[in-house]
């Protein structure tokens, strides 16, 4: 097997500019309300120093946590959402995308990069919740499809980091079919015997849970993440009573047999590299 072979040649690595944290900025934990300097919070990988609450972070943050020396090459960076249905609700979808791009400096709800994780080359496709709730539209589907093609071509393992409220309603049935598309493409990755690690982070619900996120050779999660098919509000409305404590947390999902392991953020990099090595040898 050779998928773990380094493919350094021909890849130009870019280094992300370190986020400048303005002095005097503080972070307040959403869970235990502990207040810590933002710099300390970042140094602790955006995990509360006091209670261990894993905060929602973006694709670039995950890349900086996972890739050696924060070096990686972004793939398929130009892909943007079309507006196939000329969808308008309270505002045109086009405008919604435009303003999301401006606000988040992202092109859509997923970024893909290739780089080394503890020396092992891995393709990482990571969702951004800040972009229209991490919703899955055509861009997310296409990026996953191309990531799979890239993995097969270069014999690399795939890590998908999910963080999504579900389908992108403004792409309607196109959005629904991304579930079919990503699952169909994963059959090709599977046939090529290349590892697929699915990391489900807070929150992962809806169409993402009901497609690629649950199809990993390994399904893993960070502690305390919300993971489910139906959102908790919908479940609550359906049954008409309060939800049990801990319902739809990663611990709940692990207990019911749908996760292989819960991995703390500080251990993610080492865990992924270790599993990639173990599956290769």
């Amino acid at each position: 097997m050779s998928w773990f072979k380094r493919i350094r040649q021909g890849i130009t690595t870019t280094t992300r500019e370190k986020k400048e944290t303005p002095e005097g900025l503080w972070y307040k934990c959403a869970d235990c309300k502990h207040i810590a300097p933002a710099a300390d919070n970042e140094a602790n990988l955006w995990v509360c120093i006091k209670c261990g609450h894993h905060q929602r972070i973006g694709s670039e943050d995950y890349f900086s946590i996972l890739f050696d020396e924060d070096e990686y090459q972004e793939l398929f960076a130009k892909l943007k959402s079309g507006d196939p249905l000329s969808f308008t609700d309270t505002q045109p979808y086009k405008d919604r995308v435009e303003s999301s791009m401006k606000k988040t400096k992202l092109k859509d709800a997923m970024k893909v990069a290739v780089g080394d994780i503890d020396g092992e080359s891995v393709v990482v496709a990571c969702m951004d919740f800040s972009f229209i709730g991490g919703s899955m539209g055509s861009v997310v589907g296409e990026k996953i499809a191309r990531s799979i093609d890239y993995c097969i071509e270069h014999k690399l393992p795939l890590l998908i980091i999910s963080k999504s409220g579900g389908a992108r309603m403004m792409e309607a049935a196109y959005s629904l079919m991304q579930m079919a598309k990503t699952s169909a493409k994963l059959t090709q990755l599977s046939a090529a015997k290349l590892p697929f690690i699915s990391l489900l982070t807070d929150p992962t619900t809806g169409g993402v849970t009901a497609s690629f996120a649950m199809l990993g050779d390994l399904n893993i999660s960070e502690p305390g993440a919300l993971i489910g098919f139906a959102g908790p509000r919908v479940v609550k409305e359906t049954i008409g009573k309060e939800l049990p404590k801990g319902f739809q947390t990663s611990e709940f999902v692990l207990e019911h047999g749908f996760l292989d392991k819960i991995v703390e953020r500080k251990d993610l990099k080492a865990f992924i590299a270790k599993m990639v090595r173990m599956l290769a040898k």
Partner: protein, 317 residues
Amino acid sequence: MNYLDFEKPIAELADQIEKQKQIAEKNKVDASQTILQLEDKLEQTRKEIYGNLTPWQRVQVSRHPDRPYTLAYINHITDGTFTELHGDRTVKDDKAMVGGFGSIDGRTVMFIGQQKGINLKMRQLRNFGMPNPEGYRKALRLMKLAEKFNKPIVTIIDTPGAFPGIEAEERGQGEAIARNLFEMTLLKVPVICIIIGEGASGGALGIGIGDRVLMLENTWYSVISPESCSSILWRSWDHKETAASALKLTPNDMLGNGLIDGIIKEPIGGAHTNQEETFCRVKKEILKNLTELDKLSSDARVIHRIEKFSNMGVVVE
């Protein structure tokens, strides 16, 4: 007969015809001429109304209380040979998902579909056509059984969605649907999926990966129902009609966007007005598509299936 709000002119004419018949019988007079005229008018009105359905009206027809459900189709198409098979072999038998072998013109076919209830009691038993994970796992088990004995699969889709309950989450609703999407892609036998009513989101797609995906004329297929879409995007239930239009969920829209493979015409006035005819048309479509799919090797079918779904989506570079 039940009538929808926009079918009021049809209902009134049907009512008039009924009254004329009663009067004729009671007074022993010949009203056949009047009745014939009224029937003609009723046909015309039906044509007009059904020729110009708005997307929201089509959604209403897809949920018409008199509309035939999955088992009615299967029983007629298989000429009473259908043998239902139960259970997912793990948890239980999900009554919202039915399946089994049936014979269609002498050929054994695996039929699988969501089943809605025909009355209040049955609606509860069938959980309103909303399967739990074990329903999707039963469906997959039966598909694998069909594949083993090289029998084609026909799935019949009619669901307001996968059930969003506590047990459903505990037993992995997301995983169950995801597994079906993956496994259906690889099935070595022909797979035909037919939407006969509501095709709501992942709950529909969970048995919806096929070589041919067909929609009956008065059905809808999308990522969310117009009502839920309205409540989420407009934060009110009042925009369901606008949402129905915006979602482009009708068979014509879906075919135009390359997201389905064909449309099966219904009798004028909807499937419920002439069920026999509807069943005949569906059977004909199944046979026609099976003949086409038989010509391909199983490998070719799988490759086409992957390519078809991989090409869905619109992005800008």
